[in-house]
Symmetry: C2
Subunit: 202 residues, 2 copies
């Protein structure tokens, strides 16, 4: 059984990766989270892009544990804000992790933005780093349109104002399994599957 | 004497354009402001770029008054924010015209941005529209670096955190005449001089 560290303390993210591996018939990988290994200092996210933050997190995890590691960084790229909040999505209002303040600020900034210019994408970069130094970096995107007020209670972050292309519901109105199947994180993790399949065989 | 309407109520902007015309030896143009003409409804600034807002303002002024008109739109383009706040500079915090809140938000968003990635540019688009329909649109940029706290009491907007390239003082520590000579607005207005010279001769 090959151990793989997912550099997160979020149980939902751990469950998601385990489900994806199982659905793809990839056996032989045991997914651990940060709670399952000795604590190590986590560097601040200072890269200029999602990919840089994801790979830095994965490298730190490999260096600290010696295990193969996957890490991700994700956010909302708003067309009318030139792709921001982007890597600053979780701290857009200046208050780190304050989902309500961050979402309210985006809505306020887009007050004068007409309906035909409210496009956006959820973006997720995921990186797999092996102890050998081999690195695989992928990106998943989920395009949609931004509402003018919240709808729905599922999800987190900007989900209540994001309507995926082809949908009428916001991503906070989708069932969690529907969101898994379509989301930027799901797309990025599935893009890692060939590399994870190699890892399972090794 | 050719009348020229500068679509602003800001007496400093009127004085600046008059000084530039005088310094260039362009006689024969009388610069009026919005306070000197009958009121007309001003459209909201909804273009996706500075140029679009400037030319829309100038067109509205020409349509309402029949006079040749100059209008400008300007803002701060921050590299680490992909060029934002940009056209949203005056309403970045969601509170239109609240300079303090807008500046504080940019500082908060750049908390984790290292010193070597704090580049920015003040940008100004200016448009001259003639009653004949002829339009001249120009852009002036003023590059610099953003501080982590305010310095200086001159100027307005983001001046207290902007240090122009080649300077050690913030643009709020420059004398107004020094700022005039170097600034994005000065550059844009000077780029309009050939067209204004033609207008003076006409």
């Amino acid at each position: 059984m090959t151990k793989l560290l997912l550099a997160t303390r979020n149980q939902k993210k751990l469950g998601e990766l385990r489900r994806i591996l199982e659905a793809e018939g990839i056996a032989g990988i045991e997914v651990l989270g940060l709670a399952d290994v000795d604590e190590f200092p986590e560097a601040p996210e200072t890269a200029p892009d999602f990919e840089g933050n994801a790979v830095a997190k994965a490298r730190d995890a490999v260096a600290a544990t010696g295990l193969p590691a996957v890490a991700d960084d994700s956010g909302l790229a708003v067309d009318a804000l030139n792709g921001m909040p982007g890597i600053l999505s979780a701290r857009w209002s200046g208050r780190h992790g304050d989902d309500d303040a961050n979402l309210d600020l985006v809505l306020a900034q887009l007050t004068d933005t007409p309906d035909d210019r409210r496009g956006a994408a959820f973006v997720c970069a995921a990186a797999l780093v092996l102890p050998s130094g081999e690195e695989t970096i992928v990106r998943g995107e989920w395009r949609g349109t931004l509402l003018r007020a919240r709808r729905g209670t599922h999800g987190f972050g900007y989900d209540p104002i994001f309507v995926p292309d082809g949908e009428t519901r916001s991503s906070a109105e989708l069932e969690p399994s529907e969101k898994d199947a379509a989301s930027h994180r799901g797309r990025a993790l599935r893009a890692l599957l060939p590399a994870l399949r190699d890892l399972a065989k090794a």
